[in-house]
Amino acid sequence: MNEPIKFELNDNPVEFLPDGEKTLLTVLRTRFGLTGTKWGCRIGFCGACTVIIDGEPVRSCITPVEDISGKKVITIEGLTKDGVLHPLQNAFIRHEALQCGYCTSGMILNAYGLLLKNPEPTRQEIIEFMEGNLCRCGSYGRIIKAIQTAAIEMKGGVR
């Protein structure tokens, strides 16, 4: 028999009974309707599905469902608090660090994961940390600037 899996999703305790779902990506999208998390490659290579688990950016497309039990998961939908955009979201808009927008959720969450660990990253540290997130429209230069701007605005205090 399947056991319900309990975890924290965007600050709310949730549980669900797995019904053949294999990955966190599928659970987020089909069980919780959080479609802001996208898929691109399903092998953990493009970063479109990035979410935060216990403060670490992970690829939800290759995260087994069982592994989220008891964890804290943050998706793009959880980054806006009380209708106020996160400084990263603001910075992406202000720098126009997106075109088609499909990779954007993953970009923002991976950057969020970076700033949690390293609130004042250098340009080179940003590039190295973001290397596994792909953008076909070619917004990399603007994304780097957006992350720098957000880091400055948060002054080391990442929420």
């Binding site: 599928t26 490659c41 793009i76 992406f92 088609c100 927008g101 076909r136 070619g138 990399y140 603007r142």
Partner: protein, 715 residues
């Protein structure tokens, strides 16, 4: 299949559109207001860009503009937004012509029920072909509103001015009437039949100033819905059985194990073998349980043999341009340079794969699809399912990148067939492997150039042949009397072992790489700085202007290649826009790895509607172009595609990002030209020339991989 393109064209001509819009039907769902209907076909100033009459549906207008009773302005067009920013720039054009605030303009795009027919969004045509029409329609609506205001205010039109949708007396601004007040209770439908005067650039309030895109908020919050984000009650996720290679026929099929999985719906109809389940992961599982055997297909041609195969397959030839006599050119040349350039297959690789969600609403099929061609898709679905086009609706939805690859509608037809067969909503979302397999690649191509010059570096002969890439961008712009440009098998599909199609600036990337590499070789042989060599052989003023502009911005100082600095230059023209790029690269002599340090681009695109949007397109093109220049290459053996995911198909990454500087050359008195494609065309040539300048290695084949660079360095 050699003639397939022509055959397809002929069929398209013969097909009588089943759609019979009644104009009243189409307009009745609109409330009151002023409606301007307009059609690209009726404007002589858009000659060559109009829809061919045989493809023109009824009614013969293909967009309309509504000034509603609330004073808001809405544009209904079949064009789509896929990240290129036209949802914003088109709204800017309307806001300016109608003197309303940008926030008061709504763009309704790509919904086949709400919008009139459109051919599709490609070819950098939205701003240069559709934009002028939209502006004219805006001007027409404004003129009607001024007439109405004149009656309402009892003042002559020339006493009136408009700001933010309020018409007022210039002598007594408190005497005023709003667009909303004027349109209330009215329903005026007018067809735009002549070209009304549009504003001069000096009168612009919105156009020409940078405006950020309108849809960013939805995209940074995850609220933007793409076609895979549509979730309907009872929806089934479909996985379709694919052959291991193009052209492989199925020998045997055993679906029994898959069918035993609880909740699986199995569809076997002709060539469509699909498993569906409410849970996408179980659908994946079920697909893996299908046992199917396919006949093997020839493993030829492959990445190595394709070029010889293409040249040998070529039969049709078009003369793109010619003048003088190439034999005479050969005679008067002091030096002949004869080279061949190769270009492999390149994928579009948008991060969003081809996806479609479809559902039945009574007799109607409603579709959300990642497509650049909603009306083409509608026809494809209607023909496949043998239903009237009115019974198919393709809805507006965000699109996760297109680049020319999202016009074919295979995934849409699959979703539509499956929803009809199962009676349930169905989503088809391709895996990355399916995306690489069914992509319509940029075709592999060969360019052969024989050129001649005098000892002093004057070009005296230009004999150019391009095989399979197409003629776009093949025209040279040198001041040379004896020349011939020939395009062989442009657009032919037969010789390729799989599908090919338009890829951002089709043909031009291949042609510009070849031409700009070749002209650099000539400059080197002449011992002349590559910029100086071009300037002394080019008379086209627009090209000279972008060359001088980019050199100034880059800080180019003359030196004959190979200078060791790693500086490169390339220029070209696409979609009536002129571009010149300069790049600085570093080449690791041990590994062959290229790091592009800096790229500067000067672009003359006529009137720039939204400088911010145009700049983003240049940056995007430069970044995307690094991929085809340095790494992207589909690996195949005949119809078998070995490239299956991003682990074996490297697209540009963060670490590749050069410093990018963009100069939009002021030419606002000219009509707007293309913006989404031109700045990508120089990326092969500019990097090839910079690599040569850095280490003396001349690359004749794209992509310029580390292995090829090391090989070229050995000479």
């Amino acid at each position: 299949m050699k003639k397939e393109n022509k055959t397809v064209q002929k069929n398209a001509d013969e097909v009588k559109s089943t759609i019979q819009f009644d104009r009243r039907d189409f307009l009745k769902h609109l409330g009151g207001g002023i409606i301007i209907l307009f059609s690209a076909a009726e404007f002589p100033f858009l000659h060559g860009m109009a829809i061919p009459s045989e493809q023109r549906p009824q009614p013969d207008w293909n967009a309309y503009l509504l000034v509603g009773e609330d004073g808001r302005v809405s544009c209904f067009t079949g064009k789509i937004e896929m990240g290129q920013g036209v949802i914003t720039s088109l709204a800017m054009e309307l806001a300016d012509e109608l003197d309303v605030s940008l926030n008061n303009v709504d763009m309704v795009m790509g919904d086949t029920d709400l919008c009139p027919w459109d051919a599709g969004t490609w070819g950098s045509l939205t701003t240069r072909a559709f934009g002028p029409l939209l502006r004219a329609a805006g001007a027409e609506a404004r003129a009607i509103l001024l007439e109405m205001a004149s009656i309402s205010l009892k003042l002559p039109v020339d006493r009136l001015a408009v700001k933010d949708g309020v018409v007022y007396d210039m002598k007594k601004p408190s005497k005023k009437v709003t667009y909303a007040e004027l349109t209330r209770g009215e329903k005026i439908v007018k067809t735009l039949s002549e070209k009304p005067p549009v504003k001069k650039p000096s009168e612009f309030n919105v156009m020409g100033k940078p405006v950020y895109k309108h849809d960013s908020l939805e995209k940074v919050t995850g609220k933007a819905k793409y076609s895979g984000d549509i979730q309907l009650p009872g929806m089934l996720y479909a996985k379709v059985l694919r052959p291991p290679a193009h052209g492989a026929k199925m020998k045997s099929l055993d679906t029994s194990r898959a069918e035993r999985i609880e909740g699986v719906v199995m569809i076997k109809e002709d060539d469509l073998i699909a498993v569906l389940h409410e849970n996408p992961d179980i659908a994946d599982d079920a697909l893996s349980q299908i046992r199917a055997e396919f006949e093997s297909v020839p493993a030829e041609p492959n990445n190595e043999t394709i070029f010889e195969h293409l040249v040998n397959s070529a039969t049709d030839s078009d003369i793109v341009s010619q003048g003088g006599d190439v034999e005479e050119g050969r005679k008067i040349s002091d030096l002949i340079v004869e080279k061949e350039y190769l270009d492999g297959y390149v994928a579009h690789a948008p991060i969003e794969t081809h996806t479609a969600t479809a559902t039945m609403e009574g007799e109607r099929i409603v579709i959300w699809a990642s497509t650049q061609s909603p009306f083409g898709i509608r026809r494809e679905v209607a023909e496949t399912l043998n239903v009237p086009e009115q019974n198919v609706q393709v809805k507006q939805i965000f699109i996760g990148g297109g680049f020319g690859g999202k016009s074919p509608g295979r995934q849409v037809v699959e979703a539509a067939r499956l929803t009809k067969l199962t009676g349930k909503p169905v989503q088809v979302a391709w895996t990355r492997r399916e995306e690489f397999f069914y992509d319509t690649y940029r075709p592999a191509a060969v360019v052969k150039i024989t050129s001649g010059m005098t000892n002093s570096g004057k070009v005296t002969l230009w004999d150019y042949k391009v095989y399979f890439a197409g003629a776009r961008g093949s025209q040279h712009f040198f001041d040379v009397a004896n020349h011939k440009t020939e395009s062989l098998d442009s657009g032919s599909v037969e010789a390729h072992p799989f599908a090919t199609g338009p890829w951002r600036a089709p043909g031009n990337n291949t042609n510009t790489f070849a031409r700009e590499s070749h002209i650099d070789i000539m400059a080197f042989k002449a011992g002349i700085d590559p910029l100086e060599f071009r300037l002394s052989n080019i008379k086209d003023e627009r090209m000279v202007r972008v060359l001088k502009t980019v050199a100034d911005k880059f800080g180019w100082t003359p030196s004959k290649a190979q200078s060791g600095r790693g500086y490169g230059l390339a220029c070209g023209s696409d979609a009536d826009t002129y571009v010149a790029h300069m790049a600085e690269v570093k080449v690791d002599k041990n590994t062959g790895h290229v790091q592009v340090i800096r790229v500067v681009c000067a672009q003359e695109m006529g009137l720039v509607v939204n400088p911010q949007g145009a700049t983003l397109q240049v940056e995007g093109c430069i970044t995307m172009g690094l991929g085809y220049a340095l790494a992207e290459d589909i690996s195949f053996e005949g119809g078998r595609i070995m490239t299956r995911n991003f682990d074996t198909y490297e697209i540009p990454k963060f670490s590749w990002t050069p410093e990018i500087e963009v100069v939009l050359v002021d030419a606002h008195d000219s009509p707007p030209h293309g913006g989404g494609e031109p700045p990508i065309i120089c990326m092969g040539g500019v990097i090839a020339n910079a690599i040569f300048d850095a280490v003396g290695a001349r690359l004749y084949q794209l992509p310029m991989t580390p292995e090829r660079i090391l090989q070229a360095m050995k000479g």
